[in-house]
């Protein structure tokens, strides 16, 4: 292994710290719960322990990927994302299965939704490492967030259906409301970054921002922008990655 590569500067350094923190947080939490109150919610505590193991493996996968071995990471990150989405969805639609919260309950609401953002960030980083994917990180981020915005709208609409039509409680709205709000804000930020990177005109920027208001229109806008060449290969910033100024 090339140790110089393993310690080189890059986004993986932040990912490695986050994975280490979540391994510690989920591991300590689940072990304490299993040691002191395992009878109260065994499923939830075991799932938290599995989350901790997933984060430990994710840490190792990111480290390997930073050395050039990306196969394990490309599988591990998808497994992690599937786990977060599965446990998160089950905790919403079957809350009676969980006597206590897990790390991934409600898509990681107890940790500021970082658990659901972490594998997505890891996959974006991994994609940027692959020379076969020459699409810029900004364009990839815009596509992912535009899709996530539409998905969160879908979840919110389901929650509203159960609240107002079926009259089955507010649980869905309580969960998907903050998720949609978070993704909406992320979409606004990423849209502004993409506007600068892709040199959109102001009307196109306005269209992109307006698309965030009606359901699913972010995906329609993304498709339109891609077809009309507004999401392509353009210089992102005047400063290349790896270059930085040393004076304030």
């Amino acid at each position: 292994m090339d140790d110089q590569n393993a310690t080189r500067s890059g986004g993986h350094q932040v990912l490695l710290l986050l994975y280490a923190l979540f391994t510690l947080a989920a591991g300590a939490r689940s072990l304490v719960q299993l040691a002191t109150q395992a009878d109260e919610a065994p499923l939830a505590y075991v799932l938290s322990l599995l989350a901790a193991i997933t984060y430990a493996l994710g840490w190792w996968a990111i480290r390997r990927a930073s050395e050039g071995y990306t196969t394990f990471a490309s599988r591990m990150l998808w497994i992690e994302l599937a786990g977060v989405l599965t446990v998160g969805t089950l905790s919403v639609v079957r809350p009676e299965w969980f006597s206590d919260a897990t790390v991934w309950s409600d898509f990681g609401i107890g940790y500021g939704f970082v658990p659901v953002a972490l594998p997505v960030a890891g996959l974006l980083w991994l994609r940027a490492q692959d020379p076969a994917h020459s699409e810029s990180a900004v364009v990839t981020a815009f596509r992912v967030v535009a899709f996530a915005e539409a998905v969160s709208w879908f979840g919110l609409l389901i929650g509203m259906f159960f609240k107002y039509v079926v009259d089955a409680g507010e649980r869905g709205v309580e969960v998907f409301g903050p998720i949609h709000g978070t993704v909406f804000l992320a979409y606004l930020v990423v849209t502004l970054i993409t506007w600068r990177a892709q040199r959109w005109s102001l009307p196109v920027l306005a269209l992109a921002l307006i698309a965030s208001i009606p359901p699913f229109c972010t995906v329609l806008f993304e498709e339109w922008a891609r077809r009309t060449g507004r999401l392509g290969h353009r210089p992102e910033t005047p400063v290349r990655r790896g270059e930085f100024t040393s004076t304030p």
């Binding site: 500067s9 350094q13 932040v14 710290l17 300590a28 100024t245």
Partner: protein
């Protein structure tokens, strides 16, 4: 107890300040300034003070509602920043600012949880 809470809130404010400075420097894509490391070690000194005072309170007989969780926060609070600084000790590039910023936010969150669990 009140003094412990005060130290914890000072830690939270100082950690948020470090995170903001790191975020701004990363936004400008600058090299990590040496004084940011000094700020991070100052934060670590505050956390060590908080941990020693917290252990003193625990040894004097005060029992938090969730003892194991509180001790876990107490111990992890002093480990995060040295580990983060160690992981970027040979690298002053802009990404190392992200590491320091994330560590500062984590320390702030742990300090808030320490107040909540005492």
């Amino acid at each position: 107890m009140a003094a412990l809470d005060q130290i914890s809130w000072v830690v939270v404010g100082y950690a948020v300040l470090i995170a903001l400075v790191a975020a701004y420097s990363a936004y400008r894509w600058r090299e990590r300034p040496p004084w940011l490391d000094s700020m991070a070690w100052m934060l670590e000194a505050l956390l060590a003070l908080r941990a020693v005072a917290g252990l003193g309170v625990l040894l004097s007989g005060t029992k938090p509602d969730d003892y194991a969780t509180h001790v876990g926060y107490l111990l992890s609070s002093v480990c995060v920043m040295p580990l983060a600084l160690r992981s970027v000790q040979d690298d002053t590039g802009p990404w190392s600012l992200g590491v320091i910023g994330v560590a500062a936010i984590a320390v702030a969150a742990i300090s808030v949880r320490m107040v909540m669990t005492l």
